[in-house]
C-alpha cells in the first residue's frame, strides 16, 4: 500500500512539472501581451525585459481607442461575426436536423462533402471566390465577408450539430407529433430546447471563425474603415514604422478579450462539441 502511494506521488510530481512547463509555454505570450499593454515606452524598449510595469499606464489603451480606428475595427468585427453566427445557426440547424432525422438519397455523399469540405486549401478557395465576388460587386463589403465566413463555418458546424442531434432521442418529437404538434412545432417546442447546448457550441464555433479570420479579410477589404480587427492590427503594425509594441499589445488585448470570455463560459460545450464526432459514447 505504501509503495502504491509513493508511486502515485511520483506520478503527480512528473505530471505537475510537465504541466508547469507547458502552461508557461502557452500562457507566457498572454501574460506578456497583458502586462506590456500597461507599460510606457521606456519599459518596452529595454534590453532587460520588465515583467511587471512599475508605473502601469493606460496610455496605450487611450492612444489606441482615440488616435487609431481600433474602435471602428472592433465594431466591424463584431458586426461581421454576429451576422455570420446568426446565418450559420439557421442554416446548420435545418441541415443538421435533416441529416440526423431523415433518410434520403445522397445522404452519404452530403456527409462526405461536409467532412471534407473544410479541408481544402484556403488559397485554392480564396482565388475563385475573390473572382466571383468581384464580379458580383461584393468585394470590399461586409456582406461579401459574411458570405465567405458562413461558408467556412457551414460544413463542420452542420456535421458537428448532426452528431449532437443524434444523441437527442427521436421519441421526443414523435410523441409531440402524436399529441398534435406539426413537425415544425415539435422541433420548436420540444426538440430545440433539448438541443440547445449543441447549438450553442455551433454559435461559438462560427463566431470564432469570423472573429479570427485573416486571409479572406486581408484580400477582400480595401477600405481602411471596413477592416475587421485581425486585418486592422496587422495594418497598424505595417504603418507604424518601428513597431510601437505597447499600442499593438493594447489592441491585441481588445481582440482577445471577447474570445476569452466566451471560452471561459463555454469551454465545456466547445470541447464536447468538437469531440462529439470523434469519440463514441
Amino acid at each position: 500500500m505504501e509503495k502504491f502511494v509513493r508511486r502515485r506521488l511520483v506520478r503527480y510530481v512528473f505530471a505537475y512539472a510537465w504541466l508547469l512547463i507547458i502552461s508557461t509555454f502557452t500562457a507566457f505570450p498572454f501574460f506578456w501581451m497583458l502586462t506590456s499593454s500597461f507599460k510606457a515606452r521606456p519599459e518596452i524598449f529595454t534590453r532587460i525585459p520588465v515583467f511587471f510595469p512599475k508605473e502601469p499606464t493606460l496610455a496605450n489603451y487611450n492612444y489606441v481607442l482615440t488616435e487609431t480606428p481600433a474602435g471602428r475595427y472592433f465594431l466591424n468585427s463584431l458586426y461581421i461575426a454576429t451576422v455570420t453566427t446568426l446565418l450559420a445557426l439557421v442554416l446548420t440547424t435545418l441541415g443538421a436536423y435533416a441529416l440526423s432525422r431523415f433518410q434520403f438519397r445522397m445522404r452519404r455523399s452530403l456527409g462526405v462533402w461536409l467532412i471534407a469540405g473544410q479541408m481544402f486549401p484556403g488559397v485554392l478557395m480564396l482565388i475563385p471566390l475573390f473572382v466571383t465576388l468581384t464580379r458580383l460587386n461584393l468585394v470590399n463589403t461586409y456582406a461579401g465577408l459574411i458570405i465567405v465566413y458562413t461558408m467556412g463555418a457551414l460544413p463542420f458546424s452542420t456535421w458537428m450539430l448532426k452528431g449532437y442531434f443524434d444523441t437527442v432521442p427521436r421519441e421526443l418529437e414523435d410523441s409531440a407529433m402524436i399529441d398534435g404538434c406539426s413537425r415544425v412545432g415539435a422541433i420548436r417546442r420540444v426538440f430545440l430546447p433539448v438541443a440547445a447546448p449543441g447549438i450553442a457550441a455551433v454559435a461559438l464555433f462560427a463566431f470564432t471563425i469570423a472573429w479570427q479570420e485573416f486571409m479572406f479579410a486581408l484580400t477582400m477589404m480595401k477600405d481602411q474603415e471596413k477592416y475587421p480587427l485581425s486585418v486592422g492590427i496587422n495594418f497598424f503594425v505595417g504603418i507604424a514604422g518601428s513597431v510601437v509594441w505597447g499600442n499593438i499589445m493594447a489592441m491585441a488585448v481588445l481582440i482577445i478579450v471577447p474570445g476569452l470570455i466566451f471560452f471561459l463560459f463555454l469551454q465545456r460545450y466547445m470541447i464536447s462539441g468538437l469531440t462529439a464526432g470523434a469519440v463514441k459514447g
Partner: protein, 310 residues
Amino acid sequence: MSTKTLSVPLPEGLERLSRRLSNRHITPYYYLLPTVIPLLLLTVYPLLRGIYLAFTQYNLYNKDTTLVGAFNFIELTTNDTLFWGALANNILWTVGIVVITYALGLFTAIALNENMPLQGLFRGLALIPWVCPAVVAALTWRWIFDPHFGMLNYALMEVGLIDRQIGWLGDKNTALAATMVVAIWKLFPFSVVMLLAGLQTVPEELYEAGAIDGAGVLGRFRYITVPLLNRVGKIAILLTTIWAFNHFDSVYVLTGGGPGDTTMLLSIMSYLNAFRFFKIGYASAVGVVMLILLLLPITLYTRQVLEDVE
C-alpha cells in the same frame, strides 16, 4: 396541405405537383435546401472553378479563360525557382509540426488525465492559445523573437545557452523553426482536447487489471493506452496534417515567406502570385498541387470519421 385550404379544385397537373411536394420523401429536402444550396454555391463551385482556373492563363487584367492545358504545371515544376523549395519547406514544416504537436499533446493529455488538484486550471491554461487569433499570436511572438528587445534572447542569454543576440525570424537558419513554434503553440491545444477525450474513455479498471497482471507503467502505456488512443490519435494527426499543410496566417505575418524564401510555403507562394502579381491561373495551379498532395489525408480522415458514425 395547400390543397385543402383552396376552395377551387386545382387543375390535374398542379394537383399532382402539389401532392408530390407534400410527399414524405420530399420533406427532408425542405430542411436541407438552406444548407445544401449555399454549400454548392460557396464550396463546390469555387473548388471546381479553382481547378478550372489552374488550366488557364487568367489574370486580373486579361480575364482570359481559354484552357492552356498543363502549361502552368509545367512552368511551375520546370521554370519556377521557388516551387521545389516551397514544397520542401511545406513538407518539412508539416511533418515537424505534426510530430511535435502530437508528442506535446499526448504528454499533456496524460498529465491532465491524472486525478489531481488544480487540473481545471491547468486544462484551461493548456487550451488558451485556441482563443488567440493567428495574427495576434504571430505579432506577439514576433516581439518575443525580436533580436534586441525580445524576451527569448534575454532568457537564453541569462541562462547562458547563447552568447549573442539571434534574430530568430531574420536568420535563414532559424526562421522556419521559429515560425513552426508559433504554429505549434496555436495547434497543439487541439491535440490535447482530442487525446484527453480519448483517454477519458479508457476505463480505470483496465489499468488496474493490467497492474494486477504485472504490467509496469510503460507496459500499461504500450499495451493499454496506445492501442485505445489509436482512433482518436489518427483523427488528431490527420487534422493537424491538413491544417499545418494549408497554413497561411501566422507565417504571412511573421516573415511573409522570407528571409531568402526560407519560410516560403505553398500557400504563401500561391497567395503572392494571385494578389501581388495577379497571376490567378498560375496561383490556382499551386493550389491544385496542394490539393493533390492533400487528397490522401483528406480521404483517410473522411473515411475514419464516417466509419465512426456507421
